[in-house]
């Protein structure tokens, strides 16, 4: 060991890539793990504060009655919150508000943070009535939208309010979930004085929440008592664990995904470790042979080089842990502010230890085989010509238990550690299968390629012949280039495809096609006016409307819908009291029929109905089943004609769509979607509010943009981590190129001595790397698309599409990169002075 350490002296610079590969992989895992753990711990620790009580009871339609409230007060201290939406207006300006009405004692736990509130003060200090006017604490953007300042007045639902504070955070903001509009906090007294607060969209209901800090009672006891007392399915309760749990689960899923990406980064980097150690052993063959000739045993050689690799691994892993720790210290406060969770800049030691474990195990697993090969170097080689390349190992040597067992143990260690960290053996197992598949496919395809090229007759053009020969000659770098580039590219493709799919599937063509506003319950004359505006108003780009009735489904394929339990949220909405229904002649834009057939445009027979495809499985329906609707007191029976698929963002699409005919006779209002001319959203909103004071225009665009920006932030995190994985792939590639450089220089020199021009040499290398890059990219496409598909199908549950343009971009980029890397090393080889080489060799 001592000799091994001494022998390492002065040689550290050549291990830059090896150390960087390990440091980067370990660092990503350490950072992701540390941030994820801090987040999880904080969410669980603060769960009660996040919910705002030990229990939350809520219902959609009304306040608690006096008896109900008295019962809650028996359980503990109670405060109430009403979530709703409304339009805030000041002069000509108006904005859609996320209205939060709070009781005087809100919040029971935590604080509302506002520069205008002294820490510890309840918001009631600002919200109460002064000079006949109630106060409001508002999102700063609302002031801007309304063109007002603090102290100015605005109205909601006919009530004049005074903006008295700017809202920074709500103690229970993180568990409120998705909401439309700009948050405006008022008192429940103020809310009681507002009028015209009907739900602006069907299904978008006001929620009345009661947050209770329990007195001498557990959550389970209190929840059971509420259920027994009220026997009313409209009351639902949730615990801090449930409320925080969904948040924790969401970030947990995200952290697990990032851990997998980090692990992949380490696995890609491991190839760099393996290449680096192989190249090092190759370069040291003469020294090894000399040591062997002096009588060193194979074991001594192994210990000698293992000591060196151990030191290098420790440096790489140490740097990685340091990198991960520092990044998590920097990231936590930023992340905490973005999520509304208190995340102090502390380092969680366990994830860092786990990352170090991953790093050490991966370093060992990847370097052990080349180390074993060092034992095989024979002193006889001193008497033969030697290349810089380590000859490939004999297969029977690789399968010896002494070789296989340590590597298998290290791999098992990585697997167990990953299962312990994620707590999800299926995820890790699936991932491991994917990794093995990727490794086998890349290695197998390289082997097949070399075999096929060996059997091909020599190509006629000499440059092509040389390029192809270089790919299968002994000591060719083709397998490692294909492996390194393939893994790096596959990773890049998985990330690019996931991002693209998340954006296109979840948010549709938000920026292009989504409406800016949606308005419900439009009357004929309002539709006509809006249609006129669409023709003449430069701010209004597009207006579409559909007839809209509200009804209730009373029978579902012979079953009473009230008896159905355990159904999806969407199905529950369909079976609500006021489900929106439309009728159309033609298949709506953005819809596709996936089961059954669409009715003819002139259909006038018995009522037919088209349902969203998700209802088929959710409610166990089939084409031909009958649905009964109650419309204006009358019952209509319709037969299911088809199921169709659509995205909400692509125009008007109702879950329930009837055929023309019978339903036309019923009076209906209209649902309208409005698209503003780009950059004129605020101008149009101002015009619409002035022209239609009675209509609520819901700014869908804002909400979607908010979702896009949240997704964008998550996407950025994924991109950064994924980018690091790709950087690791590039490092590996660079290391491979550097390792082969010595031999390339030697070959290039001989070529030059024999009379090859620089162009000849560059062309042969460029062609070789072009072909290698293209081949690796093709295999990586298979691995990447399969990986992204598996993740979207199993973990995210969204539809999957592989954009060929995106894939082509990645492939072309990869080929160019490989050729550039090949050209760079070739250039170095060409720059080498032949005279020096010929003298020194």
């Amino acid at each position: 060991m001592r000799v091994g350490l001494v022998d390492l002296r002065g040689d550290l610079r050549r291990f830059g890539v090896l150390i960087a590969c390990l440091a980067l992989g370990t660092g990503v895992i350490a950072a992701v793990g540390s941030v994820g753990d801090s987040l999880r711990i904080a969410v669980v620790r603060d769960a009660t504060t996040l919910l705002g009580g030990d229990l939350e009871a809520s219902r959609p339609d009304r306040d608690a009655t006096a008896e109900e409230l008295a019962f809650f007060e028996m359980l503990g201290e109670v405060t109430s919150v009403v979530d709703s939406n409304a339009r805030a207006a000041a002069g000509d300006n108006s904005a859609f508000a996320d209205l939060l009405a709070v009781a005087g004692n809100y919040p029971l736990l935590g604080n509302v943070v506002s520069p205008q509130l002294t820490p510890g003060d309840k918001p009631a200090v600002l919200l109460g009535e002064r000079d006949g006017r109630y106060g409001a604490i508002v999102d700063v953007v609302l002031l801007d939208r309304l063109g007002i300042a603090l102290g100015d007045k605005f109205t909601i639902g006919g009530l004049e309010l005074e903006a008295r504070g700017i809202l920074n955070t709500l103690p229970d903001g993180a568990v409120r979930g998705f909401h439309l509009g700009l948050t405006t906090v008022v008192s429940t007294d103020a809310l009681a004085r507002m009028d015209n607060l009907r739900p602006p969209l069907p299904g978008m209901l006001t929620k009345h929440r009661y947050k209770i800090v329990l007195r001498d009672m557990s959550y389970a006891e209190a929840a059971a008592a509420i259920a027994a007392q009220f026997n009313d399915k409209d009351w639902s309760t949730r615990s801090p664990r449930e409320a925080a749990g969904s948040l924790a689960r969401y970030y947990d899923l995200f952290a697990r995904f990032l851990l997998i990406v980090g692990l992949s980064s380490l696995l890609v980097g491991g190839v760099g470790v393996s290449n680096g150690v192989t190249a090092y052993i190759g370069d040291r063959q003469r020294s090894i042979a000399t040591m062997r000739s002096l009588g060193a045993t194979g074991r001594r050689i192994l210990v000698h080089f293992m000591t060196q690799v151990g030191v290098l691994t420790a440096i790489g892993v140490g740097l990685g842990v340091l990198l991960g720790g520092v990044s998590s210290l920097l990231m936590l406060p930023l992340l905490g502010r973005a999520l509304g969770v208190d995340l102090p800049a502390l380092i969680e030691p366990m994830p860092l230890l786990a990352a170090a474990g991953f790093g050490v195990l991966a370093g060992f697993a990847y370097s052990y085989l080349p180390l074993v090969r060092a034992q095989k170097v024979s002193p006889a080689m001193l008497f033969r010509a030697l290349g810089a390349v380590l000859p490939p190992p004999a297969r029977r040597d690789m399968l010896r238990p002494g070789v296989v067992a340590p590597i298998a143990l290290a791999v098992a260690g990585i697997f167990v550690l990953a299962v312990l960290i994620t707590g999800d053996p299926w995820l890790v197992g699936g991932y491991a299968v994917g990794v093995v598949f990727a490794f086998l496919l890349l290695r197998g395809s390289a082997w097949l390629l070399q075999g096929a090229l060996r059997r091909l007759p020599p190509a006629a053009p000499s440059r092509l012949r040389h390029a192809l020969h270089n790919m299968y000659r002994p000591g060719s770098t083709a397998p490692v280039v294909i492996m390194s580039l393939g893994l790096g590219l596959a990773m890049l493709l998985v990330i690019a495809l996931l991002n693209a799919n998340l954006h296109s599937q979840l948010l549709g063509a938000v920026s292009r096609d989504a409406p800016t506003f949606v308005a419900t319950d439009l009357f004929d004359d309002e539709v006509a006016t809006l249609e006129g505006m669409a023709r003449s108003d430069p701010f209004l780009a597009r207006f579409e409307s559909s007839p809209m009735l509200r009804g209730k489904i009373t029978r579902l394929a012979g079953v009473d819908p009230d008896t159905l339990t355990g159904i999806s949220e969407e199905a529950e909405f369909l079976l609500g009291d006021e489900v929106p229904i439309t009728w159309v002649r033609d298949l709506p834009a953005g819809s596709t029929v996936v089961d059954g057939t669409w009715w003819p445009p002139d259909y006038d027979g018995p009522p037919l109905v088209s349902l969203r495809i998700s209802m088929k499985a959710d409610l166990g329906l089939a084409v031909g089943d009958k649905l009964s609707f109650e419309l204006y007191g009358e019952t209509i029976e319709a037969t299911i004609a088809n199921f169709r698929d659509y995205e909400y963002q692509q125009g008007i699409n109702f879950i329930v769509t009837l055929s023309p005919g019978v339903v036309e006779a019923f009076p209906s209002t209209f649902l309208g979607t409005i698209k503003a001319a780009e950059g004129h959203e605020k101008d149009l909103e101002r015009e619409l509010v002035r022209a239609f004071p009675e209509v609520t225009f819901i700014p869908i665009g804002d909400a979607l943009n908010q979702a896009v920006s949240i997704l964008g932030q998550l996407g950025t995190a994924v991109n950064i981590v994924g980018g690091l994985a790709v950087v690791n792939g590039l490092l590996v590639l660079a290391g491979t190129m550097a390792a082969g450089r010595k031999q390339r220089e030697a070959d290039a020199t001989v070529h030059k001595v024999l009379g090859a021009t620089r162009a000849d040499v560059v062309w042969a290398f460029a062609l070789e790397y072009c072909l290698l890059g293209a081949f690796a990219a093709a295999i990586a496409t298979i691995v990447g698309v399969a990986g992204a598909w598996a993740i979207t199908e199993s973990a995210i549950d969204i539809g999957f599409s592989a954009d060929p343009v995106l894939i082509a971009e990645v492939i072309v980029g990869a080929v160019l990169l490989t050729v550039a890397a090949g050209a760079a090393t070739t250039w170095k080889a060409l720059s080498a002075r032949p005279a020096r080489f010929l003298r020194e060799a």
Partner: protein, 234 residues
């Protein structure tokens, strides 16, 4: 008198050793005729190998004129020098410098491919195989250099150098890494091939016995080249 294969006039070579300039070749005036075999002897570090480097264009003369195969190579750029070498020169190294990943046949074929003779590949392979047969390696065509003995590797090197039928063969201590018997066999082959192909040979060697078999002997000492006294001209 026919055109000489080598004609240098007041050729000098300066090289830097760290920051110290060294005057390696001093006013070299050399003339070698077609088919002539010239041996250069001299102590280590006297500048023998540097002379070969300058003659092959692998080292650029600092001053003076170097005309090889009728072409002044002092003004040629890298690529022009490469083309000049492929058309006119064969080079044999002490350390063989075979490409380790190519078989014996492929190493020799490579020289023909680079020379762009315009032959189909099969024909090039046949010519390379014939060249290897000529040096007694017909049964070693598919062997990699690592599987060949030193003498065999040098014979592959000789086949590679001669397969393009060069006008000048530059041999830098070709027997330096071989035992006496093997070295003698390689030299015999080299002289035999050179005479058959009417190729001029510029041989660098320490071995005076070997040098004695050349048509002419030169002595390099401290960068100065002179005819060795007492050697009869053929």
């Amino acid at each position: 008198m026919s055109t000489p294969v080598i004609e240098t006039t007041d050729t000098n070579l300066h090289l830097m050793s760290g920051k110290v300039p060294l005057h390696i070749l001093k006013d070299i005036n050399l003339r070698v005729e077609a088919g002539e075999v010239v041996a250069t002897v001299g102590p280590s570090g006297s500048g023998k190998t540097s002379l070969l480097m300058v003659l092959s264009g692998l080292e650029r003369a600092t001053s003076g004129k170097v005309v090889v195969a009728g072409q002044d190579i002092t003004g040629l750029d890298e690529d022009q020098l490469a083309i000049f070498r492929r058309r006119n020169l064969g080079i044999l190294f002490q350390n063989f410098h075979l490409i380790p990943s190519l078989t014996a046949l492929e190493n020799v074929t490579l020289a023909l491919e680079i020379a762009e003779t315009g032959q189909p590949f099969k024909q090039m392979q046949a010519a390379a195989a014939a060249a290897l047969e000529e040096v007694g390696l017909a049964d070693r065509l598919t062997h990699l250099p690592s599987a060949l003995s030193g003498g065999e590797q040098q014979r592959v090197g000789l086949a590679r150098a001669m397969v393009t039928r060069p006008r000048l063969l530059l041999a830098d201590e070709p027997t330096g890494n071989l035992d006496q018997d093997t070295g003698a066999r390689v030299i015999a082959l080299m002289f035999d091939l050179a005479r058959k192909q009417h190729t001029a040979v510029m041989l660098i060697t320490h071995d005076r016995a070997l040098a004695a078999r050349a048509d002419r002997r030169l002595l390099m000492n401290h960068g100065q080249l002179s005819e060795e006294a007492g050697v009869a001209q053929p």
